[in-house]
């Protein structure tokens, strides 16, 4: 009897041990999991792949999905911020997903700012162009939404889990407990903390769709004092989002609007901070795939008819006036071609100087400690420079890059060829309907109840002056200007 009992006891103990071991193994494998959703197609990877931003700065998928419903955004998702949704896709372009420690987290990726959209008329379905500057996404409004949500009493685990259930979002038992007791409050704290660091930027004039403050977030990351110590002239750095095609040919050019860095990889990683990817968490293989894709990514060819004779005439003018700074055409460019990729002093270019002044010498040197002490000593940032003007950019796909100038203050190419006094003082951004006459996007105050962003050029940082005068073509006869615009369509 006792023998038998002891035998059973041993078996029971062994079973218990085995079960414990299995549970332990399961937990270890679950809590050390770190796997992004994989997209084999480079284009899909660019649109939806992860840079690693989820690991330190991701938002649990369940929270991210339920917030627009709980806080009643139109459509119950993020399209009102201009996020682009493709049919059959759960997440919009520019939002990535990764399972980290057993939970699905989402973050932004490069495509959030670098996929744009155009259509011939409002009724037509939009074409999404990879590498094109986003002309619809209002990233600041998106963040303000998240920050306000985090500060709202409705940001609770109960509400979020309840909403998830209604929406059929299934988290397993363990994740529900983690969300309930830890992840929701952690997300909330992180958002509020981030909001406090970005505070100076949130009091700046509105960005509107397709614009961002490139180095404001860098100041937040490095936690620069933003009180009275930061002069007002350094607080506003709002810029139009840039295109990111043909990176191979951009190596060695002065990149960023003020030309503050001439190393593509560093520029990329600096931008990746905006996706939440920090030195310890940057998914280097995934990032490399994005970078490789961008090396030769190209803009869509101009889809509408081009008047060849007029373009030919425009080519002559371009050669005389524009080619020295902007390269021979939209495809063949690189360093050491005239003044392409060099910085034109602010006195000469005379465009709005807020963006220039927002990037300070102190920030440039402080960035030298980013990516220090990683396994590869060459990763440390060392190419940032304080410059004193704006860089001469290549014009590849320029037809898709409106509005123009670094702050997106001039709606169309044709307007850019007018002296600043004749450029529109107020126009609307955010409509992706293309205007083949003036080349740019339509300025539409409102359509189907959707209000577009009123861009007021008298607001600080929005100045539309500069890049004008005889050498910039604004004195040309109208026919010549039209010809030049016609030629620029071929880029």
């Amino acid at each position: 009897m006792t023998v038998l009992r002891e035998g059973w006891l041993k078996v029971a103990l062994l079973l218990l041990l085995a079960a414990g071991l299995l549970i332990g193994l399961y937990l270890v494998s679950r809590l050390t999991s770190n796997s992004p959703v994989v997209y084999t197609d480079p284009k899909e990877h660019f649109k939806y792949g992860s840079t690693g931003g989820e690991i330190l700065n991701g938002i649990p998928y369940t929270i991210w999905k339920t917030l627009p419903v709980i806080f009643q955004l139109p459509g119950g998702d993020y399209r009102s911020f201009g996020f682009l949704y493709e049919s059959g896709r759960d997440l919009p372009v520019g939002v990535s997903k990764r399972r980290y420690r057993g939970m699905d987290l989402v973050s932004l990726n490069c495509a959030i700012c670098h996929v744009g959209s155009y259509r011939s008329n409002p009724a037509e379905a939009p074409h999404y162009v990879l590498g094109m500057p986003s002309n619809t996404v209002d990233l600041r409004a998106y963040y303000e939404f998240l920050f306000n949500a985090a500060a709202n009493e409705k940001f609770t685990a109960g509400r979020i889990l309840g909403q998830a259930e209604q929406m059929g979002i299934h988290e397993d038992f363990l994740n529900r407990q983690i969300l309930r007791y830890y992840a929701v409050s952690l997300t909330r704290t992180s958002l509020l903390n981030f909001a406090s660091r970005l505070n100076f930027m949130l009091t700046n004039p509105a960005f509107g769709p397709g614009r961002i403050d490139t180095f404001g977030p860098a100041k937040a990351l490095l936690n620069f004092a933003t009180d009275s110590r930061m002069p007002d002239t350094e607080k506003i750095g709002t810029t139009d989002l840039p295109s990111i095609w043909y990176q191979r040919q951009r190596e060695g050019l002065h990149l960023h609007w003020d030309g503050n860095n001439d190393k593509v990889q560093e520029r990329n990683r600096s931008a990746a901070f905006g996706t939440g990817a920090f030195p310890p968490t940057l998914d280097r293989p995934n990032m490399k795939r994005v970078e490789d894709f961008l090396l030769d990514a190209a803009p869509d060819p101009y889809p509408y008819p081009i008047d060849k004779t007029r373009a030919e005439r425009g080519k002559q003018i371009y050669g005389q006036l524009c080619a020295n700074c902007h390269g021979p055409d939209g495809k063949n460019f690189g360093p050491h071609q005239g003044a392409l990729g060099e910085v034109t002093p602010i006195e000469r270019i005379a465009t709005d100087r807020f963006r220039l002044d927002s990037y300070t010498a102190a920030l440039a040197v402080d960035q030298n400690q980013l990516y220090a002490e990683t396994s590869d000593p060459n990763e440390r940032f060392s190419h940032f420079r304080k410059t004193f003007g704006y860089a001469n950019l290549p014009l590849d796909g320029i037809w898709l890059r409106g509005p123009y100038l670094h702050n997106g203050s001039v709606p169309t190419l044709r307007d850019l060829l007018e002296p600043s006094a004749n450029r529109p003082k107020l126009f609307y951004r955010g409509d992706d309907t293309f205007d083949p006459v003036r080349v740019g996007f339509l300025s539409t105050p409102e359509r189907n109840g959707r209000k577009f962003f009123a861009f007021d050029t008298s607001v600080r940082g929005n100045g539309n002056k500069g890049h004008e005068g005889k050498t910039y073509g604004t004195d040309l006869p109208p026919a010549d200007k039209d010809a030049l615009v016609e030629f620029l369509k071929t880029f």
Partner: protein, 491 residues
């Protein structure tokens, strides 16, 4: 004693084996993680080494690298009021692309640590126009860096409740992929120990943190009081010895002369050794460190005056120099250069002079001797006054007089009542109209330290030589002063 029983022997053997198997790896790991020294460098030049090379202070005074990186990001509110963010807030010259500001060394002693070298006070910067990258000159007097603010910042951080492992590690983890072991070391040993060490050194600086005590501001310190309170245990007194940082280029010119403003040390090597000890360089290697620093300083020449010089006017100035300046400042034979000029004769502010005593010199020499360092000792010179310095590269050594109380050469040739009573020092924009730095513009006010010459130690009286010359002769004399070398390219 009788032999041990076999049982005991067995236990002893087991203990010995355990000690070897467990103890040695632990001891080795501890040595590796906390004490292993890795040479910094190699250096591309002596000048690079001067700017960034270790002088052996990391073991005793080194801040753990990641704490050093995190501090300005965790405590931006404790940075100086005129700071612009990050370590750049202290105004110490920082070359673009470099990880560390000049004068900050990074060396692994167990883990990477940050200490200082001579260049923190002896490298300077200037600009010829506002929109220009500053030119940095190693060996020049730092006039933009606020060393007192650095000292205060570190202790203020340590005193702040936010200086704890949770908060610092959260910041560090944004930027570093520390191993599990390193994270433990930081959390439980390095962070608490650093805090303790910083707090422990606060009393050493209590004398300068007295309420309403005159500030050093940019480009100055109180060298003999620092030495006095550091090397002797003499009671705190009421003396204020604020002094401008000197240039140390052309150090060969000072051999056999009296150094320090009041001629306390008769040997350049001794000044280097004592200054290095003040930065907590390791005594056992300080003499060999001082040797290469001296080699650099002897070889280094100041840059040429960067604006045009009117050669004809300068030629007119030479006889004026010979007549009015040469007997004290001339480099030829028979002048009093490097000799002490009695206070009754030079009549400049005497506060710096009276900070140092014969008793302090005796004790300091005993302290250094006890450290095992052999050098020509420091003294209290019999002649009480200020030594006549050579004027090599004098254009870049503004503001003038030992306490930096006269903003530019033009004012130095004016009588006391015409010299500025208030000006701002620390902005590196050069003003060739007055031959000195811009000390009045809004930018100078924003970035600079307000020098009030009525405050103790800031007196701008005395050294009235040449002040009665007619204006035209003053102009000629100043033109000649711009040429004084030997400068770059000269022997």
């Amino acid at each position: 004693m009788s032999t041990l029983s076999p049982n005991w022997k067995r236990w002893l053997a087991i203990a010995a084996i355990v000690l070897v198997v467990v103890g040695i790896p632990i001891a080795f790991t501890a040595w590796y993680k906390f004490f292993r020294e890795v040479d910094d460098g190699p250096w591309s030049s002596l000048e690079e080494r001067f700017k960034y090379g270790s002088i052996g202070a990391e073991a005793d005074a080194g801040l753990p690298y990641w704490i050093w990186v995190a501090l300005p990001r965790v405590f931006p509110d404790l940075l100086p009021r005129d700071g612009q963010g990050g370590w750049a807030s202290f105004g110490i010259p920082w070359e673009e692309g470099h990880e560390m500001p000049i004068g900050f060394t990074k060396k692994t002693v167990g883990f990477p640590r940050v200490a200082n070298n001579c260049a923190i006070c002896h490298a300077t910067s200037y600009r010829t126009r506002p929109d220009e990258t500053p030119k940095i000159v190693a060996g020049g007097p730092n006039h933009t860096g606020n060393i007192q603010a650095v000292l205060r910042f570190l202790t203020n951080c340590a005193k702040d409740p936010r200086f704890n492992a949770d908060i610092l590690m959260a910041e560090i983890n944004n930027h570093a992929s520390l191993s599990w072991l390193d994270k433990l070391a930081y959390r439980f040993a390095i962070i608490p120990q650093t805090r303790k060490a910083l707090l422990a050194r606060e009393p050493q600086f209590g004398w300068m943190n007295r309420p309403n005590w005159p500030e050093w501001g940019e480009g100055r310190d109180d060298p003999m009081n620092l030495t006095k309170y550091f090397m002797t245990k003499l009671p705190v007194d009421d003396t204020v010895g604020t002094a401008d940082f000197p240039s140390i280029w052309n150090l060969g010119l000072r051999e056999g002369k009296w150094l320090n403003w009041c001629g306390e040390t008769p040997s350049p090597l001794s000044v280097i050794i004592d200054s290095a000890l003040g930065l907590q360089a390791r005594p056992s290697t300080v003499v060999s460190q001082a040797a290469w620093i001296q080699e650099f300083a002897v070889k280094k020449r100041p840059p040429k005056y960067p604006f045009p010089i009117d050669a004809a006017l300068a030629a007119k100035g030479k006889p004026l120099f010979d007549q009015h300046c040469n007997s004290c400042h001339g480099l030829g034979a028979g002048t009093r250069v490097g000799q002490i000029i009695e206070i009754a004769e030079v009549k400049t502010d005497n506060n710096r002079l009276i900070t140092w005593t014969a008793q302090a010199a005796d004790i300091a020499n005993q302290t250094v001797e006890k450290l095992g360092v052999k050098r020509i000792g420091i003294t209290k010179p019999k002649i009480e006054g200020y030594q006549a310095v050579p004027l090599d590269g004098i254009w870049l050594r503004a503001p003038y007089l030992h306490n930096g109380s006269v903003p530019n050469l033009t004012e130095l040739l004016e009588p006391e009542e015409k010299r500025s009573k208030v000006f701002y020092r620390g902005y590196d924009m050069y003003d060739p109209a007055v031959v000195g730095f811009d000390t009045t513009s809004p930018e100078a006010r924003r970035l600079g330290f307000r020098v009030d010459t009525t405050i103790k130690g800031n007196g701008n009286q005395g050294h009235l030589y040449g002040t009665t010359l007619p204006p035209a002769e003053k102009k000629a004399l100043i033109e000649y002063l711009k040429t004084l070398g030997p400068v770059e390219g000269e022997a």
